[in-house]
């Protein structure tokens, strides 16, 4: 069953168009990646899905419901959890407050992510429990952003550069965690430059170039296609 479907999305910042007919789809339980160089529109795609920069053209459906024109909070409530680019931690809340302020049991109401379980995932956060958001190091903020999204117990988890600025060890832990999540049937949309790690867990990759999807396929065909990798990802 399709979880999220984008059809011909067009998005603008003011007058300047950034997405030119972006289409992609994510099935339930799938891990999908969005790849591409800087400034190609990956984050913008996410912002359109979340209703933060609503699409002016095209249609977005989430679990059968049209969410194109819904306000962000309704989309989040419908079951999408976001780890945004740039962390966006609340500076004047403590770590724990950041986690519980927006926590939710999820749409099914039996969410399994709780304070205990995210602290288990990121012990460093528990150590910094009472620190204010603006006192955290860059990496600690990143962990908090991920934990915060998990605490909403989403149907679909979106990670936009979620491993940026994290120590290698933590990065590995996050990949391991995503692998576990996938095993539990969590649907995930992920943006990251770490192709190797992505290839191991993703079912499907989309490559974005100038606001469009230019290539799509699974890890095997991506690995085989070094021309594509070089041309669109610069590796």
């Amino acid at each position: 069953m399709t979880m999220l479907e984008l059809e011909d999305i067009e998005t603008f910042y003011g007058q300047s168009q950034v997405l030119f007919g972006m289409s992609l789809s994510i099935k339930e339980g799938e891990v999908v990646t969005l790849m591409g160089r800087n400034g190609m529109g990956k984050t913008t795609t996410i912002r359109s899905i979340m209703g933060l920069t609503p699409a002016r053209g095209g249609r977005i459906t989430f679990r059968g419901q049209d969410i194109t024109a819904l306000p962000a909070y309704r989309i989040a409530k419908a079951g999408i959890g976001l780890v945004p680019e740039g962390r966006r931690i609340s500076p004047n809340l403590s770590v724990e407050e950041n986690l519980i302020a927006t926590a939710s049991k999820g749409t099914s109401g039996n969410g399994k992510w709780t304070l205990q379980s995210v602290y288990q995932l990121f012990p460093r956060l528990q150590e910094r429990q009472t620190s204010m958001g603006n006192q955290l190091s860059g990496g600690e903020q990143q962990m908090l952003a991920i934990a915060r999204a998990l605490m909403t117990n989403p149907e679909l988890l979106i990670l936009d550069e979620a491993t940026e600025g994290l120590a290698p060890l933590i990065r590995q832990e996050i990949w391991a965690c995503l692998t576990r999540l996938k095993k539990d049937g969590q649907s995930i949309l992920v943006i990251d430059k770490n192709i190797k790690a992505l290839s191991e867990i993703a079912d499907c990759h989309y490559i974005v170039e100038k606001g469009r999807i230019v290539w799509t396929g699974n890890s095997v065909s991506l690995a085989a296609n070094s021309k594509i990798k070089h041309r669109y990802l610069g590796v």
Binding site: L52, L82, N92, L93, S94, N98, A101, T102, R148
Partner: protein, 309 residues
Amino acid sequence: MDGLLLLEQVLNGFQLGLLLFLLAAGLTLVFGIMDMVNLAHGSLYMMGAYFCATFTGWTGSFLVGALLTIPAVFLLGVIVEMIALRNLYARDHLDQVLATFGLILFFNETTRLIWGPIGLSIPLPEFLSSTVEIIPGAPYPVFRLAIILMGLLVAGLLYFIVARTRLGMLIRAGASNREMIGALGINIRLLFTLVFGLGAALAGLAGLMAGPILSVEIGMGEGILILTLVVIVIGGIGSIKGAFIAAIVVGLIDTVGRSFLPEILKLVLSDDSASTAAPAISSMLIYLLMALVLAIRPQGLFPPKGVGK
């Protein structure tokens, strides 16, 4: 300076401080926590007083009037927020100052249009307009005791809400991080509207408490607004605790300063120059206090955690 008089003046200062706090609470909530400079807070305070006077007139009872006033001002706040202010949260303070200054003009003149220029009065019921003798030889108005009580009540309640509840966290988070909190599933627009309404209701409460003693008239909000701004700046913008302490300090300094400054100045100046200098200095006292506090602590006495550096 005899001891009983000093005691009475301290009580007076405490009461003025708590009245200021009633007003400062709503202001600091909207100002500090939602990061919105709302100069029209004084106007909402005025509306509280006018509504209460009107409702008291209709119903013949101050208590009923007061109970009707609070939801009415809440509603007014919500309407104002929806029409004029909700698009200003993301703007800089200058824009907010200007727009809400526009609101002050609008409210003052509309009030004059509706209620006329003369002002109203709020008659108090018998039991509130009497006095009790808590300090021997100095009967104290019961209504002023009621103000003290109300101030303490609001302080406790607000502190609890903002520091302890999830609602409080969301309000604090929303200011710095509006978009993100929305993307995490919170209807921030509604939340802000409600919080603004809460701020308005607090202003209205202050107005209906102040109305019976400070008189109800056009422009009553401006003078006290400045005083209130001074209070929240001294206390550290956005800090309920800071507003509370600063309000009481300002109330005490103002009252005690006013009553004993001439005597104190006479110790160093001639009688004549002391009595001319005293009123001028006492007018400046709270500004001096603010300048002093900010010169030493540029963020006020109790800047809330996690804002700025």
